[in-house]
């Protein structure tokens, strides 16, 4: 009798609890998001993102110093040295960091030349948090800026973080690092060029004491159509009301609110402004995350494109095409991609419709480049004062082939930074 009275409220409570439980499970299930619409989108948005965050933010330069003090620049031949190194060193953890020296250029240069080391260099300062993500490791030390990382082949329990700005040397104590793995990378076959670090005009440069023989490359030019980008970035799901204005040398796309795109025909460059893109914070890692997400969203081919530099003052990140471990200049006046964060919610991105994807046999397999001393001498002879030179770097010159249509030749040459602009040395000494 009692049981009969009670079964109804009990089962009602049970049913309510079950429904609560089920709703909870559905809400917390991360897969619950609207799936059917997502699978249709993935096909497009993923098609070019074979390049990961880790790939695009690889260090731009690797220099090894052997036990006798001989320094060499490591470039790719069969393997990508930087990815190889990154994959092998991603497992260590670290806790302690101590500043060894500051504002002492002599000591800093000596540190760069330290025997038995590998240096991983970036063109501009990165943060510890960023490095942790790019190298997928556990470097748990206070966030700070550095642009070079020095691994010691004979001492697996330490590494150095170096910053050209202020000549700061920070010594980090490591756990779980296996140096044997690094030696293995160096034992692989790769192309090495004799170099030496040198102070030039108060800046650290990589000096090539002798002539260098470098590979030349040829690529088939892949050109993305205007419509591809117009469809991808100008037609957002809610607003398809895009106004298109055609001018003689350019085409404007405007969605009456958040996005604007201009395609310049003579140079084949796209300028895309997005006024509706929130950046969570202005930390270096967050900015780079944001930049990467936007590159994927726009969907340009990123196969051989890598991070080149970031200028915190103007909020500008530059990406360049890389060939054999060296940057390509002259693709456009800004590199392969330039992204400028305008404010908390908007950015302007410039990129080229051209990209390099399919390599073809070059006419000549290699070219010889003169030494740094010779370059400086030639510059001096044409009246360019050393104090004006902001940087010297070896890179590839992008030029269209004269006989084959849609073919780009990459030939190695010297680039000199003058007035915040990288110039081909031949242009500076009046040969071009």
């Amino acid at each position: 009798m009692k049981l009969r009275n009670i079964w109804l409220p009990v089962s009602l409570v049970a049913a309510v609890l079950v429904s609560l439980g089920l709703s909870g499970m559905i809400w917390t299930n991360p897969a619950h998001s609207n799936l059917s619409s997502r699978t249709k989108v993935t096909k497009n948005s993923d098609s070019n993102s074979n390049t990961t965050f880790q790939d695009i933010y690889l260090p731009s330069q690797l220099v090894s110093t052997d036990d006798a003090g001989k320094q060499e620049l490591l470039t790719n031949n069969r393997v990508n040295v930087a990815t190889d190194l990154r994959d092998r060193m991603s497992h260590f953890t670290a806790e302690k960091a101590k500043t060894d020296s500051q504002k002492n250029p002599k000591k800093y240069l000596a540190q760069l030349k330290r025997k038995g080391t590998i240096l991983l260099n970036y063109n501009s300062a990165i943060s510890v948090n960023f490095f942790r993500k790019a190298f997928n490791n556990q470097l748990n030390i206070p966030n700070q800026k550095f642009n070079r990382m020095q691994l010691l082949l004979n001492d697996p329990s330490h590494l150095y973080l170096l910053n050209d700005q202020g000549y700061r040397i920070v010594r980090v104590t490591l756990k779980n690092n296996r140096a044997g793995k690094l030696r293995h990378v160096l034992a692989d076959r790769m192309v090495k060029h004799r170099v030496a670090f040198k102070m030039f005009n108060g800046k650290v440069i990589l000096d090539y004491p002798k002539n260098v023989k470098l590979r030349t490359y040829s690529y088939q030019l892949t050109q993305q159509t205007q419509d591809y980008y117009a469809n991808r970035i100008m037609t957002t799901n809610s607003n398809s009301n895009v106004q298109i204005k055609r001018h003689q040398n350019s085409t404007d796309y405007d969605d009456h609110g958040f996005r604007h795109m201009t395609i310049d025909k003579p140079t084949d460059t796209v300028t895309f402004t997005n006024y509706n893109s929130q950046v969570k914070s202005s930390s270096f890692l967050q900015t780079m995350n944001h930049v990467y997400d936007q590159l994927v969203m726009v969907g340009m081919p990123l196969d051989s494109v890598r991070f080149y530099s970031y200028d915190a003052g103007s909020g500008t990140a530059v990406f360049r095409t890389y060939a054999g471990g060296l940057p390509v200049f002259d693709q456009s006046d800004f590199g392969a991609i330039q992204m400028k964060v305008l404010d908390q919610s908007s950015y302007r991105m410039k990129f080229s419709l051209d990209s390099l994807q399919v390599p073809i046999p070059p006419v000549q397999t290699s070219a010889t480049i003169m030494s740094t001393d010779e370059l400086v001498k030639q510059l001096r002879n044409t009246g360019i004062r050393e104090s004006k030179i902001q940087g010297i770097e070896l890179g590839y010159e992008w030029s269209r082939d004269k006989s084959l249509p849609k073919v780009v030749n990459l030939s190695p040459t010297w680039y000199v930074k003058i007035g915040n602009q990288w110039e081909n040395y031949q242009k500076l000494i009046g040969q071009k």
């Binding site: 109804l8 074979n50 790719n76 031949n77 990508n80 073809i360």
Partner: protein
């Protein structure tokens, strides 16, 4: 209406709600509980009655390289014995003076020895037997570069079989001067290639994917050199037809590679081609 009746109605409503919630929970977790997107597409493919073995998600490494059919075979030809040789372009066409007998199923063992013999076949050590490309009238050996086979007419030895299962001769193309054009780069996974192929409508309903290989395919010719790149090659057998069609997906970008050469089937889609 008494309180008991209200309780009963509520109970009924809640039970109905539970059933609905349970169903929707179940549907959401199907196919999505494990790593999203492509799995769902595989599910869709099964619904379209496409048969395939579970694709791997492993990424591989491959190169762009170039090479051509130069005169290596012309130079090696005088040293070859027990055969009469002629050239059609760069292709070496040979007829054995004594046809080789092949007993059932021993084709590989017999021909492996022939191919390994430098007196019979030039540069044979660079080729390996391909079960998938061989047929009842032809046995194919493919050249290998960087541990992967090249599926191209320009890098093969084709042994012709007559009606009595005897090898009467062969034709050979040899790729020489192989140069790596770019450092190794990661390819997409087999699963991705398969799902893209499906999404580009390259696999008709009811078809069967009989095998999948990562192999090199010629992409273009530039400056007198053939340029190869890694591709995922899918053998697709269409319903009610014995023909197996090879579909190639660029293993770097996932694009379906269109080839204009070779005999095209009557299929309306011009991207479908057969390998000869």
């Amino acid at each position: 209406m008494n309180f008991k009746r209200i309780q009963l109605i509520f109970l009924a409503i809640f039970i109905a709600m539970d059933v609905m919630l349970f169903l929707s929970y179940n549907r959401n977790s199907v196919g999505d509980s494990t790593a999203a997107g492509s799995n769902n597409i595989l599910e869709e493919m099964r619904k379209d009655q496409i048969t395939f073995s579970e694709p791997t998600t492993k990424k591989h490494e491959g190169y762009y390289f170039s090479g051509n059919n130069g005169d290596a075979l012309h130079q090696a030809a005088p040293d070859l014995q027990q055969q009469s040789i002629r050239f059609s372009g760069d292709e070496l066409v040979s007829e054995f003076k004594k046809p080789l007998k092949i007993t059932n199923g021993s084709a590989k063992q017999t021909l492996d020895k022939v191919v390994a013999n430098p007196g019979l076949i030039a540069d044979g050590n660079q080729y390996s037997y391909s079960k998938q490309l061989s047929s009842s009238s032809e046995i194919i050996y493919v050249q290998r570069v960087a541990h992967k086979p090249i599926y191209s007419h320009f890098c093969q030895i084709r042994f012709d079989l007559d009606s009595q299962q005897r090898v009467v001769g062969y034709s050979q193309n040899y790729l020489e001067g192989v140069k790596i054009l770019k450092e190794a780069a990661k390819t997409i996974s087999e699963e991705r290639a398969l799902t893209w192929l499906y999404q580009y409508n390259e696999i008709p309903n009811g078809a069967k994917v009989t095998w999948v290989h990562l192999a090199y395919t010629r992409l273009l010719t530039a400056r007198g050199q053939y340029v190869f790149l890694p591709t995922w090659v899918f053998a697709v057998k269409i319903n009610n037809s014995s023909a197996v069609i090879l579909k190639r997906v660029n293993a770097y970008t996932g694009e379906v590679i269109k080839t204009g050469d070779n005999n095209q089937t009557s299929n309306a889609n011009s991207e479908i081609f057969t390998l000869t």
